[in-house]
Symmetry: D2
Subunit: 301 residues, 4 copies
């Protein structure tokens, strides 16, 4: 259970004080504000603030294109056009701020998306809580034998039990010793900025993360992808569910053109055109490497 009673009370308090505003509002997003969506065993995402809605995307595009866009019949058509043609700036006009609680090894991957604003809890300044990510049994997977960067079958029986036991006992021992080093009872107590180095990468941290919709879509495309590591993918999926309620038209276009889309190389285009003419094309006659061909035939057979 990721939230303390204090936190729940704080959320309820925040949700009990609606204000009047003249700004664009998204009714779907108002439902999410401040509420914690649980992720993994102790994590969550919460929407803290947002700016803009589907209409704001359209409005920004119409500033660019002026009267010329009036012939586009509706907002949906314009948003789909913008997405299809990789127009990024109108989507940058929406912004969202999230509060995220997540394991450090997930945070390390996440932070590589540089076009965002971050305020992270400082373990140099404050003391971290004793909360560690321990995978659920169904997510305790073996190393993939075909992909260096992937998972294979779920671990079973004794091996699974042994791994869980090691993860739990190492985390607890590391935290016990973190506390012992920090303690000022009968000793000086090690500096927080040093003691934190003893903590493993499955400890939870938290941050405020603010990003515009264009860069968020880029994040979601990479991190909600089936090839992303499970532990970051569940965060991406929880965020995606909020985005769908926030900007439903933009999200639908994103799903069609990005999440559900594929990019074809000029070689792949050539193969498909030959097939459409009835030719049987194999890897040998495709001009593609074996790796490319495997990825191509995963989609096209």
């Amino acid at each position: 259970m990721p939230l303390t009673p204090d936190q729940i009370a704080e959320i309820e308090a925040a949700r009990s004080a609606p204000q009047m505003t003249l700004r664009a509002t998204s009714p779907g997003m108002e439902q999410h504000l401040y509420r914690a969506h649980p992720v993994l065993d102790h994590g969550f995402i919460r929407v803290i603030d947002y700016m803009g809605d589907d209409a704001a995307i359209v409005q920004a595009a119409r500033v660019s294109y002026g009267a010329g866009t009036k012939h586009v019949q509706n907002d949906d058509g314009l948003i789909r056009y913008l997405m299809r043609h990789w127009h990024s700036t109108p989507f940058e006009m929406c912004e969202v701020k999230l509060h995220v609680k997540l394991p450090v090894f997930v945070a390390r991957q996440w932070i590589r998306h540089r076009t965002a604003n971050v305020n992270e809890y400082s373990a140099r300044y404050s003391i971290l809580d004793r909360e560690f990510y321990i995978p659920a049994p169904e997510h305790l997977a073996a190393q993939s034998v075909v992909n260096n960067q992937g998972r294979g079958a779920v671990l079973q029986g004794e091996e699974a039990a042994r791994v869980l036991d090691l993860l739990k006992s190492d985390a607890n021992r590391a935290y016990d010793n973190y506390e012992a080093m920090l303690s000022q009872e009968g000793q000086q107590g090690l500096a927080r900025e040093l003691a934190r180095m003893n903590l493993p990468a499955n400890i939870y941290t938290q941050w405020y993360w603010k990003v515009d919709l264009h860069n968020l879509f880029h994040f979601l495309r990479l991190r909600a992808d089936p090839h992303a590591q499970y532990e970051i993918r569940v965060y991406a999926e929880a965020i995606a569910a909020c985005v769908k309620d926030w900007v439903p038209l933009a999200y639908a276009a994103f799903e069609d053109y990005r999440m559900g889309g594929v990019t074809l190389s000029s070689k792949a285009i050539d193969v498909l055109k030959r097939r459409l003419k009835g030719e049987a094309v194999s890897q040998e006659t495709s001009g593609m490497s074996k790796g490319e061909w495997r990825e191509f035939s995963d989609v096209w057979g």
Copy 2:
């Protein structure tokens, strides 16, 4: 008068439909929403949307520093501390979106601030209006004789009249010919993306500009500075007046530490310390170049 009746009606309509929101609101900023603040002869700035307030800055900082910040007595003290110590990320948690109408030569300077989102009216796609910036007589200044990048005295009499006449007649002729080249009456009509090249840099363009508060402060420090060109400074000043109403605590800290502050080199520190001990220090004994000394004595005598 920069606004058409249609635009005024649109603003009134936008301001007549308040909504309920659970988000942080800034009463001072709500007063500005959508309203046009005139700048120069045909320009304006309008606040279209904003995210966050003074409390959002404090909230983000407390996420970083955890319980450790509780000893800071109040929001004002914490915001001043953050500003004094160049903490940038809490200020990045606020965001503002502006609609700006401005001459192209101002836009060219403005766009050099890269950490912002922009949707500009496209003269490739649409036709620009016949609106040009013509300086008011009191801003028609001579080239500075001491500063390559500055202005001297205001032009007088015949010279002033001649300049105004040239600026007006060239702008009008350029626009007449822009229209003549575009016209499809009795001819094909030149492509818009080509015809626009005939228009001078004092024609007005417009854009949506979205930026976070940290980067906006950086913009204001450079562009509301007395050394900035007058024509961009008046935009910075109009924006600054809105920011002051939006985040009054952060703006006050910005005024004290940035706008009203100075940076001293190690040489300048040394000179001031010697003076405080009663020593008379001249340029020759200061270790500074003549240019540095002139700038130093402008502040310190």
Copy 3:
């Protein structure tokens, strides 16, 4: 002829002083260093400096993937893999610095690519030269009747002559008056930062532009595209020719996966799969809008 004798002498001098270095060098790029590649009537691009080569991309990727990448047989295969899977960071390890002379209206479009470093000639500080872009007759095109943002047929006869005459005479008059306002003979002379507002958007400016290879590929994909405006496309093509000599493997992958590739939406994938099974699909049964279908059938018939 864009270069003065002084400039040519400067280039020859720069090229006559080879130095020893331990850095990665690209023989293909060394041939381009400092030399001006003419673009449009007075413009050019020149490579001023570069960092990295194909091997540097591979080296950075192997740092990320460690010993695990040893099974990839060769550099070419790894670079193609990185490009295919949208890995951006290894390509960011290469950097190039260009000197570009270009019309202001092209510069205004170019600068929208924010992830680059720029030093532009300052017309606030210095006086611009009398050099304007005047389109060659074969590039003097009419407004497209199907695309607001495009060109149609080339203008002919009297209309073409009239347009050329207007562009030339307006440019010259604007420059004459720019000089007249600046002049300090018998008058004070208007400030440079004001006088420049009289100059049209086809005047030439120049800048140093520094960008990493990943962001340069993004620029080239958008600006060397057939839908880009001709006047920026020719710059993109001139740069692309240098990139091809600089990092031939990366450039070949870019051509195959980006320039020559297409992105399919989930709807488009569905249509192609139905066609591969022998079904005849029309716009009505495709689920696509008319616009999407037109773009789809441009590629797939």
Copy 4:
């Protein structure tokens, strides 16, 4: 000892193959290329590549200011002028690429500087080495009693011994269990992307880090500062020593105006002016808070 014989051989090989180049070269930086400068117990920084030198900064500035800069007598004066007036773009024209080996908790702080390019060793893809940062006895400091984010006295005697023992034994046990979970002998072996979560924050990682000189100076100002954590400060100092050899004029200006400079608020300016006139000013009459006054009097007495 951070380097293996293989790595040393690789460095020697890289340094034994000088090439001819027409690019700007920095003799001081050539001496550093590829060589490892040891930092902490297992870390290092190595310069892998660089672009530009002091002259490149000047060259870019002269592009901006044109003939107008000719009156500046020399490169040194111009570079100092640019630094004094916060001109950032000419410094962005230089770029450096480093190979850094560093503990994860240092990497987490470092990565917050977003304006850089990074390729990090992937523990999702490959297996990390058994190398942990264990502080030298003289750097094993107690928590500061005055600063939540700082260190106090060095730990002594039994407490120091106990801390060192805990850090070492926890690191080794965590690594033993990391290996045990990964092992494929008699079991499937846990996925690498999961096993890594057991490793503490003092394990070493490595990355390629590429940054321009302006942003590097910003990094150095914050991280080579006495208030920065010791473990990142030593990296900043090692890099600063290379920068000094690379661009000696720019580095000297940086030292004078940034590292050795201070920023005064308008209140602080007022206090100094009153003191210069002979007035005795105390905290109570200064208008400053106690915290501000303490920081002010640290510099000015």
